[in-house]
Every structure is written in structure tokens, then in C-alpha cells.
Amino acid sequence: MRETARAAASSLLVLAVGVLLLLALPRLLDLHALINATIFASLAILALSLAFVWGFAGILSFGQAAFFGMGGYTYAVAGINLGDTTGAIALGILVPALFAALLGYFMFWGRISDVYLGVITLTVSLILFRLLNGTAGDAWRIGDAPLGGFNGIPQTPGINWPGRPGEALTPDGVFYLAMALVLLVYFGCRALLASRFGRVMVAIRENERRAELLGYDARRYKLGAFAIGGGIAGLAGILFANCVFVSPTMFSLNYSAQIIIWVIVGGVGTLLGPLAGCVLVQLVTTSLGSAGWLNANLMLGLILIGFVVLAPSGLAPLPVTAARSLRRLFPGARA
């Protein structure tokens, strides 16, 4: 019961903060900062994808960047060819989800151990990184869209109103959309976790053998979770592509590692934690990066080590721990 109370509390918090940011930021921030905030929102969705797959299905995927990049590229290529981005968005979610399902089929039906699962997912994203880096020149194009090698696709189209090609959303509009999608994905994951599918998924994370002995086919549930995570990462890629443009860096080791750091900093096994972890780590690294006096990657490493050593369960349980130590300090007060 305590569990549900906590979930309800964090849901309310996310809803309140999300709506507040959604309404306030476009009024407070200049255009450049607003686009940055949109990028943060897209990365927050990416963080949620791993929070879901790792934290609740127990699948440590080093390959969320692969689905992120694939979502972005699919969206860009389909958008250029179709002229309208509505279908491109659907494809940008569907293609990485199906790719994750295919990859998952081989991994889960092959009963590959957790360590190799990490290796395989990482390798797949690096292969895609290499592959797209090598697509410079006119020979590499899909329909009207040149893949552009390490330059990526600068002419990545902006999201337009459904059915009205050419009428692109304003930066404000993209921000609203991205924030709304963060909330949608968060509450979508919550709903999924409360469903039979989600509860069995968590049970498999806890004890796969017992779940099997109860008659649940663990492979199917893991495959489902992995595909959903792939689709969510694809959605993040679409939004990211809208703010920047797609390039092979989306598949890079840098992103694969960062996503995992966000989740560790936020707390594995929660949704709210990685969301906060992502925004916090991004704020720290970008502000340090622009200040220029400390290497951002070095800082990222320090943050990771700091959390692993000092707060191994991440940010998420800190309010509870803080409340408990306060109560210990002031035994008379009711926290």
C-alpha cells in the first residue's frame, strides 16, 4: 500500500511540475534557451525509455542510443520523402520498436545472459554509428533523402500540423508538444506498470524462474518491454531531430553512456528519478561546457562516481531518507 501512495505522490509531482514548466518556460526563456529546453525534454523521454526497460523489466540495455538514432533517422528520411511529418512520426516510433523486437527475439529466445545482452546492444549501436558515418556521397540516399555521412541530414524537416505539410510548428509549439509527450510517456509507463503486463514484467525482474514456474513465458514479456522501450527511445529521437538535426552522433557511445548515467543518478527502479537525473546532469554538463573551465565529460565521470559511491540508489529515495533522518533528529515532530 505504501508503494501505491508513493507512486501517487510522484505522479502528482510530475504532473504539477510538468504543467508548470510547460506553461511558464515559453514566457521566461529566450528562443535559444527554449530550444535547449526542448532538447532536454526529448532527452528526458530517452531517460524514461531506459528507466522502463532497465528499472522495471530488468534488461540493462546499452543500446537505447541505437533506437534513439534510428527514430530520428527514420523520421528525417520519411519526412523528406513524404513531405508530411505525421506519418514520419508514426514510422519514427514504429521502426525502432520493430527493430528492438527483432533484436529482442534473438536475445531472449537465445537465452543470452545479462552481460552479453549489454554487449550485444552496445555493439549494435556502434555498428549503426559506423554505418551511418560511412554514408557520405550521392550513392547513399533513400528516396529524396541523402544520408550525408558524418554530417547527418541538415534538412531534417520540422514537425508540421497533421495533414498540413509546409505549416511547421513554431519553436514554442515544438516545446509544448515535447513537454506534453514527456507527461504522456511518463503516465503511459505508469499505467503500463499498473497493468497485468507491467506487474508480471516486474515479477520477472524479481525472479524469472518463479515467473516461469507460475506459467508465464518470460521471453514474451521481456520482448514486449524491450520493444516498448525501443519505441519510446525512437520518439525521443524524433523530438531531438526537430531541435537539432539527425547525425550519427545520436548513435554514439557518448549517448549510450549518458543515458545509463542519468538512470543511475536518478535511481534504477523508478521513473521520476531518471527524469530528474537527466535534466540535472544535462544542466550541470551544459553549464560547465559553456563556462569552459572544466571538461564536461570529466564532470560527467565525477558525477557518476560520486553517485555510485555516496548514493548508490540515486536521487529518487533521497526525499524518503531525508525525511527519516529529520525524524530521527527531531523525534517529537511528526514528519
Partner: protein, 240 residues
């Protein structure tokens, strides 16, 4: 009643490298029978159970459940046919509450509403209702055994395998377990592995004795308890 037994193993053999853990075991369990399996540590009882539930694939021989071969089926498929197991070391969902554990077991075959109706009664029957909101990982060994037993009962399997169910239980918990086993046995067949002879005496009718991977003897419990061969293998004297 058909002549096809509920469970039949034919020459069931499990080898690990040079070690033969289970060697050509032929065992028949009829519908709604209560069978006790005893034997010293390392006799192959747990390995035998693992072969029945798909956790291990036997090296040779066959396992027939109502005439259908189980060899090569996944654990989940065997569970769905109606085989439930309580493993030797309780296999439970440690990070989840007792209620959630039982819910998961019930929800496999039932709809949401049916689970809600059955859940409180089942918690009561097994005697874990006061623990319902506790995390299973924080419970004592005997309590975890009861939780796992509750999960097995929830699946309503036709064949229930219990591997050392009384280990770590208080006298009160053992009493409850005996009552549960007798109640279950009205409609379900059970195979119980146990070391505790007091416990065996309370529930057993037919007993099969395992020794070094083979069936040493199979008889009514009264004869088994006075059988000198059984005493010898338990006391470590080499059987002739």
C-alpha cells in the same frame, strides 16, 4: 477413470559430466495420490524434480504427464499443463509484497475480478493474511515457504511437487502445512520430498526411497519405516 497415470517417468536419467544424479528412474503417480519421496542428501530428489518441471532437460528417458511427454517443453509450458512446484530454496519474488506474490500466481489463469474474490480467502487458508503487506524478502524462512506454497496452490495444479516444505517452519506452521496438504490431496496429486520423519509419518501413505539416483524401494509407509535398508542408507552404511 482412465488407466493413464497422472505422472510417469520411464528410465529418467540426468547426468552431469561423469556424475549420474538420477539414474533410470521409473516412477508412477496416479491421480490424486499423495507420494512421499525420501532419501539422503544427494540422492537425486531435487534433480528429479527439476527434470519434471523443465528446469533441467533429462539426459535420457521420458516424463509423461497424462500420457503427454514433457521433455523439451519450457518451464512455463509445463506449469500451464498443471504442474506446480515449491522448490527447495523458496523461489519467491523478494522485492514484492506477499499480496503481490499471490496476486501474480492467481492472475495467470483468472480475470481481475476473479482474482480479487479469491485472494483474501487464499491468504487466510495458507495462514499468511497478517503478512499480506510485508515484503517477502523480509520474512523468515518458514513464512517464505508458506508464501511459495500459497503461490503453488493459487495455480490450482493437478500435480503439486513440494521440495522440503517443512524446513525452517515452526510447529504451528508445520501443523498448518499438514492440514493444507491433506486438504489439497482431496483433489490434487502431491509428491512431497522431506527429511523430517515425524512429518512423513503424519502425511504419508506410499513412500519412495531414493538412493544414489535410483529408486531403492517403494512401499507403504509402515513397511518403509522399519525397512533395514532404508535405515542403512540414512545412517550412511553402504547398502549391500
Amino acid at each position: 477413470m482412465s488407466a493413464v497415470p497422472l505422472l510417469e517417468t520411464r528410465g529418467l536419467t540426468m547426468r552431469f559430466g561423469g556424475v549420474v544424479a538420477v539414474s533410470a528412474v521409473n516412477l508412477v503417480v496416479r491421480e490424486a495420490e499423495l507420494r512421499c519421496l525420501i532419501g539422503p542428501n544427494g540422492a537425486g530428489k531435487s534433480t528429479f524434480f527439476k527434470c519434471l518441471t523443465g528446469l533441467l532437460r533429462p539426459t535420457a528417458g521420458d516424463v509423461l504427464f497424462r500420457g503427454k511427454s514433457l521433455v523439451g517443453l519450457g518451464s512455463h509450458a509445463i506449469a500451464r499443463l498443471g504442474v506446480g512446484i515449491k522448490t527447495q530454496v523458496p523461489s519467491v519474488f523478494d522485492g514484492l509484497s506477499v499480496r503481490e506474490n499471490i496476486w501474480l500466481a492467481l492472475r495467470r489463469r483468472r480475470g481481475d475480478d476473479a482474482v480479487k474474490r479469491r485472494l483474501p480467502g487464499l491468504l487466510d487458508e495458507v495462514g499468511i493474511a497478517p503478512l499480506a503487506d510485508r515484503l517477502v524478502g523480509q520474512l523468515a524462512h518458514g513464512q517464505r515457504q508458506l508464501v511459495e506454497l500459497g503461490m503453488v496452490v493459487a495455480g490450482d495444479p493437478d500435480l503439486i511437487l513440494l521440495d522440503e516444505p517443512a524446513a525452517g517452519m515452526t510447529d504451528e506452521e508445520v501443523d498448518r502445512l499438514v492440514g493444507l496438504i491433506k486438504a489439497l490431496n482431496v483433489r490434487h496429486a502431491l509428491v512431497v520430498v522431506e527429511h523430517d520423519m515425524q512429518f512423513i509419518r503424519r502425511i504419508a501413505t506410499t513412500v519412495t526411497v531414493f538412493h544414489q539416483g535410483t529408486v531403492l524401494v517403494e512401499d507403504r509407509v509402515e513397511s518403509i519405516l522399519v525397512d533395514p535398508r532404508v535405515r542403512d542408507v540414512y545412517l550412511g552404511k553402504q547398502a549391500a
